[in-house]
Point group: C2
Chain length 229, copies 2
């Protein structure tokens, strides 16, 4: 659980760098990175960037989780992605030359390092391993989203919820899923009421337990079976 004292992190000793696009950096590159980044503390539910805004750099998530979402016609959020510690958020917009087309908001208290667009693009230009990492990441996410689209189009809400719970459980690695019901509904792509009813069924079937808003999975294989995966 990050707090204000986390604020300054040294890239060389950053515990989550091993999970990031910067994992293969040599000492020199890490020092360079460290000299160009600035760290900030973000409270829960704080905006990181907003749709339509101008991208000015990337956000390296040192601690905490972030939701990335689009808004539909009536302003309803659709959560596209949940980023966890070590992920770099917002780098797609560095290459598109367009304003942000999604927004990002913290799901809990976060510690986030910022690297300016110019510095980041410089690194991409000069560091082929970073570049290849980014190409791979973009390609993989593109395929992930194809699967996401297919699930949305073909699976029932019940199936999608089962799938989403297992998916999120993995992201929360050991901790319990800590999403508001509304966020969860906006991830699954359903109404909050429907989501709650289905959670209740899953509880009755002893697939999950709830601890107020937190959700504990107690039968993952059962959930996977329901999800049809």
């Amino acid at each position: 659980m990050p707090n204000q004292s986390y604020r300054n992190v040294n890239c060389e000793h950053c515990l989550v760098r091993k999970d990031s696009l910067f994992k293969d950096f040599c000492k020199h590159d890490v020092d360079d990175l460290d000299g160009h980044k600035s760290c900030s503390f973000y409270k829960k539910n704080q905006s990181v960037f907003l749709e339509e805004g101008t991208p000015r750099g990337v956000f390296c998530l040192n601690a905490g989780k972030i939701k990335v979402f689009a808004r539909g016609e009536e302003g309803k959020e659709q959560i596209i992605h949940v980023a966890k510690e070590g992920e770099i958020v917002g780098f797609r917009a560095m290459f598109s030359g367009e304003p942000y087309r999604v927004s990002a908001t913290t799901l809990e208290d976060c510690n986030i390092c910022f690297i300016s667009k110019a510095d980041f693009l410089d690194m991409v230009d000069t560091n082929s391993s970073l570049r290849n990492g980014i190409l791979k990441e973009l390609s993989t996410e593109l395929a992930d989203r194809a699967t996401f689209i297919t699930n949305m189009a073909q699976k029932s809400v019940r199936e999608r919820l089962a799938f989403s719970l297992v998916f999120l459980d993995d992201i929360y690695q050991g901790e319990m899923i800590n999403f508001s019901r509304e966020d969860l509904a906006n991830f699954v792509g359903t109404a909050t009421e429907t989501l709650i009813r289905l959670l209740k069924e899953f509880k009755e079937d002893e697939l999950i337990k709830t601890h107020s808003r937190k959700i504990e999975l107690i039968n993952i294989s059962g959930l996977l079976k329901i999800s049809g995966s």
Copy 2:
């Protein structure tokens, strides 16, 4: 309408190169490209590549259209993308290091040039303008898919159909949309019967006309209004 005689194309004179990722190539690069590509004719409904298969290169679409799709649990297709003349198909898989996660099939007779993975990656490594074009393309498509997901999750089938018709009309530039009802349903994400019923309503409301399987839009702004865009 391509035919067998189209088979061999010279990149330098290729009419659709201006719409492709190779548009900024200098004479030297074009000659290089030309030396490394091989052209083939594909009949309608012919497979270009298959999910799970090993990617061996990219496909540059000289004439015709291609659908890119994933398959859901019960084997139902979900069309993720429709590629038209000038597009390069399958380049995402060059970077992911994984088997294909989607399939591609021609929607009509096509003429397609093939460039091997090694040659393509060579070009990407040495040609920074191509590289930037690819980064931009990947980023833009990622954002497009976020919108796609949001539409799937939040819009009704009726809204999605209206949106899809306008979208496809743009791809077919002047020609009429020429999709089987099943393909159209698999793009919109619905059952074929539902799709047909909605098309009928759109006809009654004089938004579209059908000419056997082909669809002509006669009130685009009306469709856009329905789509909620």
